[in-house]
Amino acid sequence: MSSGRLQLRKTMDKLSKAVFFLATSFGIIALAILLYNIISQGIGWLDWQFLTSFPSRFPEKAGVKPALIGSLWVIGFTAPVAFVVGLGTALYLEEYAQKGRFSRLIQININNLAGVPSIVFGILGLGLFVKNLGLGRSILSAALTMALLILPIIVVASQEALRSVPQHLRNASYALGATKWQTIWRVVLPAAFPSILTGVILAVSRAIGETAPLVVVGAVGFMSFVPNSPFDLFTVLPIQIFHWTARPQEEFRYIAAAAIMVLLAVLFTLNALAVYLRNKYQKRF
């Protein structure tokens, strides 16, 4: 145990802190550059008129109203459905199911669905919700499709969260005569809640930025009215952004940037509540 080795360990320790910090900065810097790019292009175009207008062939008159409202509609259905089904699946697998073939089958399924490209979910949504269930090319079809798409993220994150709740906490609850569900509801879920929320944040983030499956399910590219029921036709922000960036005129790229700012603002607002709750509930054992 030479002091040389100790010196090395100390140096490694110092170095590692720097390395870990730099790695963290990598993500932050990437985000900063991205945001700078977006904001510097879009900021001049983002105003109240932009939020409240319909799309137009004139960039200065164009707005994101139907896309913004469409996105809110879709996510408003997607998030709760995916949350309930995802958490339910995780609870079943971690707390109820026997660790046997059946739960392994579900597990493989979930991991596998995580890797299925989003467009294939679109094809499924088209066949299942639009055609077979007769929901049509509607907000509801889109939301359910999206819910299936983000389900694996929520399930996997929730499973890990449930798994990390120490067994002795469950024991304490059972010993007081709690039923399984009482134990889950009052002890396990509160302790697992922060990490479950991380899954929700990541999943909702994904849902709100997706384009391809919604195109297949039937989001339109242009509409000059706003949907006002879950059975209406709709469009969403990413599709609007996609179409604007494909236009030849440069100005459309700027309003696309402005629309991206709107999308990120929506995302961050939606996440804020989850982040707040996560910070509130997070405890170290």
Binding site: S173, L176, G177
Partner: protein, 250 residues
């Protein structure tokens, strides 16, 4: 009258047998001490009495455990009622990551008590019974994790008392406590004995001698012998019991 009657109990962790053919009957309104070297199966046995072993995957059990005349391993037994009436304090303190107050109120709330002043009363009574009230009465809203180890253990005792059980299983409840708190808990147990049946695992021979009416000695998964505490400590039947008890002072 015996309230717990264990017959031919065997327990396996997967392939590995941890309890061998245990037979014991436990008197109502008494304190029974379980003693024996580390790893001999005391905690395992204790957990069979309120079916906490159900929680451990791979555990299989043969034989019967009758509580108040019913075999608790029968299929149609309501384990929640069983566990509510058989309180348990674990070897290691395991408070919930909640406030001190919410830890105690947890059980009563489970069983339907929501009235605030009633809860307040239960919290106070239970904390006083576990000799913790004075230390925490001003910080009831603080997280239970900021308590010292011994305080956490007393909190867990208070939590078990708060649901008002009829039988109390305690796995070395005072091993993390100082003598004064220990003495107070012992006093409490002696007091509780009037109404409740208590089964306690302890490594502390004096404790067993001081408070228990019956002592059971475990070794390698076998119940070597059980009987009146006085007798076990002075004239045990089995030489191994004698070895163990005197080993302490040897």
């Amino acid at each position: 009258m015996s309230i717990i009657e264990v017959t031919d109990l065997n327990l396996f962790y997967g392939e590995r047998q941890a309890l061998f053919n245990v037979n014991i009957s436990i008197e109502d309104k008494s304190i029974t001490a379980l003693i024996g070297p580390s790893g001999c199966g005391k905690s395992t046995f204790l957990r069979t009495l309120n079916r906490m072993n159900d929680m451990i995957p791979g555990v299989t059990i043969t034989g019967t455990v009758e509580v108040a005349g019913n075999n608790i391993y029968e299929d149609n037994i309501d384990v929640e009622v069983l566990r509510k009436n058989i309180g348990m304090v674990f070897q290691q303190p395991n408070p919930f990551p909640k406030s001190i107050y919410d830890n105690i109120a947890f059980g009563p709330r489970l069983h339907g008590i929501t009235n605030r002043s009633e809860l307040d009363g239960i919290v106070e009574t239970s904390l006083k019974a576990a000799v913790l009230w004075d230390e925490v009465k001003d910080v009831l809203k603080k997280p239970a994790y900021s308590l010292s180890g011994g305080q956490q253990q007393r909190l867990c005792i208070a939590r078990a008392l708060a649901v008002n059980p009829q039988i109390l299983l305690m796995d070395e409840p005072t091993s993390a406590l100082d003598p004064i708190s220990t003495a107070k808990i012992e006093e409490l147990l002696v007091e509780l004995k009037k109404k409740y049946t208590i089964v306690i695992v302890t490594h502390n021979m004096q404790q067993a001698a001081r408070i228990s009416g019956v002592t059971a000695f475990f070794l390698n998964g076998y119940l070597i012998e059980s009987g009146e505490t006085d007798k076990i400590f002075t004239a045990p039947n089995d030489p191994r019991t004698e070895d163990y008890i005197t080993g302490r002072f040897g």
